[in-house]
């Protein structure tokens, strides 16, 4: 690998192709960087900040920073791991994350990252927001209690489905997901279980009805191996290209 197309990530040389972000190059090389709002099929967003690394000594989000030759990237350091843990703890107190009753338990990226990073406690005071569920749609339940505001469903519905079913409203800690209907109910949108937006939620907000807890504990996505061992599942779909 020539010097002009690689950077150093925690003492490991990572090759990259023009246009790839630090995150894409790392994942393609089999190095996992924690993330929630990043998805290989969508343009990077840079909001969850879980993928924060230090590039040449300065903090940056690896999903939005283009890879450049000779960069020195720190990811797996005690300081950065501590920041990521704190960010996860913030997300855990912001919503109502009651895993025992969640159908996505074992498949949830927030949970899996908590395990990966050894988050055993929420640390902060819990906010316990009131977020009523929307069960109006015949095929899909929306449980906003678990929303981490990654905007993946918004991006999927906008960019892939062309339906604009989801959007954000409110500001700051009151920011929340809304649907494209005057009634505010999913049943009054053209949302369908076949939509891309129905497939991308990293946590347990968008859930198919009549299909809970189908996989036994022990056989779920992140039961056998930690999320970092699933790095292949997050590789760029078409390296170097942003769909």
């Amino acid at each position: 690998m020539s010097e002009s197309s690689s950077f150093i990530l925690d003492d490991q040389e990572i090759p990259f192709m023009p246009g790839q972000s630090v995150m894409q190059a790392a994942l393609a090389a089999g190095v996992f960087i924690p993330h929630l709002c990043y998805h290989p099929e969508f343009r990077p967003h840079g909001s969850c900040k879980l993928c924060t690394v230090k590039i040449n000594g300065r903090p940056a989000t690896s999903c939005t920073t283009p890879a450049a030759a000779g960069m020195e990237v720190e990811s797996n350091t005690p300081e950065i791991l501590d920041k990521r843990r704190t960010l996860l703890q913030m997300l855990l107190v912001e919503g109502n994350h009651f895993c025992p009753s969640c159908e996505k338990s074992g498949f949830c990226m927030l949970q899996a990252l908590g395990y990966e990073l050894g988050v055993v406690a929420p640390r902060f005071s819990l906010l316990y927001p009131a977020r009523p569920v929307d069960a109006s749609h015949p095929d899909v339940l929306l449980d906003f209690n678990r929303c981490i505001l990654c905007e993946l469903c918004i991006r999927a519905s906008t960019e892939v489905d062309g339906k604009f079913v989801f959007a954000l409203s409110g500001r700051g800690i009151k920011k929340h997901l809304v649907v494209n209907a005057e009634s505010g109910k999913l049943a009054d949108t053209n949302f369908s279980l076949a939509d891309k937006a129905a497939q991308v939620c990293p946590v347990g907000v968008i859930l198919p009805k009549r299909k809970g807890f189908a996989v036994p504990i022990g056989q779920r996505r992140f039961d056998a191996a930690p999320i970092s061992a699933h790095v292949d599942e997050f590789k760029p779909v078409a390296p170097g290209e942003r769909p």
Partner: protein, 182 residues
């Protein structure tokens, strides 16, 4: 060198279901090994009612009423190490699912407006009954907590690993498969 003295351990269940205690018993015959190193003070297993000076206090359940607060404070005052055991102690868990409701509405719904109540039913006000708090809280919001062991319940293996780490002087590390939120 003499064998080290046995560590005193107290346990209690606040707003919990005793599931974590059941899981504790799930360490099965290893419980006998454990008893080589520890002796119990206040715990549902011994039926001792108040906690004396202890090395380790293990708390199951969150804080949902005034009595929970008193018990938790008693543990904190007496235990060098306090452990939050299980989802409810860690983040409020199932009892905290009431937190988006106003307690007044809950009490009224259960004791006043519910259909089919025996005539004359009123909201219980016996001083013997602890008053519920407006919201359920995880225990770290009430006293300082030293260690957290999440899970609903944490598995017997997780509890065993956690306690043996602690008893042998290691900072507890659960690792994949033992750290669980569900």
């Amino acid at each position: 060198m003499n064998a080290p003295r046995k560590l005193k351990v107290a346990t209690t269940s606040l707003a919990g279901c005793f599931g974590c205690h059941m899981s504790f018993l799930d360490i099965d015959e290893r419980l006998l090994d454990l008893l080589e190193f520890i002796e119990f003070d206040r715990t549902p297993l011994t039926d001792i009612k108040h906690c004396g000076p202890c090395d380790i206090g293990i708390i199951e359940g969150g804080v949902c009423n005034a009595e929970n607060v008193c018990v938790l404070r008693e543990f904190r005052a007496n235990c060098k190490i306090l452990i939050a055991l299980g989802a409810c102690a860690v983040n409020g868990g199932l009892p905290a699912q009431r937190n988006h409701l106003d307690l007044r509405d809950i009490l009224a719904a259960v004791y006043v407006t519910e259909e089919g109540l025996v005539p004359g039913t009123q909201i219980p006000n016996d001083p013997e009954l602890p008053l519920p708090l407006n919201q359920v809280h995880p225990i770290h919001e009430v006293v300082n907590i030293d260690y957290f062991l999440p899970g609903c319940p944490p598995s017997g293996d997780a509890i065993w690993k956690f306690l043996t780490d602690l008893l042998t002087g290691h900072t507890p590390r659960l690792g994949h498969g033992l750290i669980r939120y569900d």
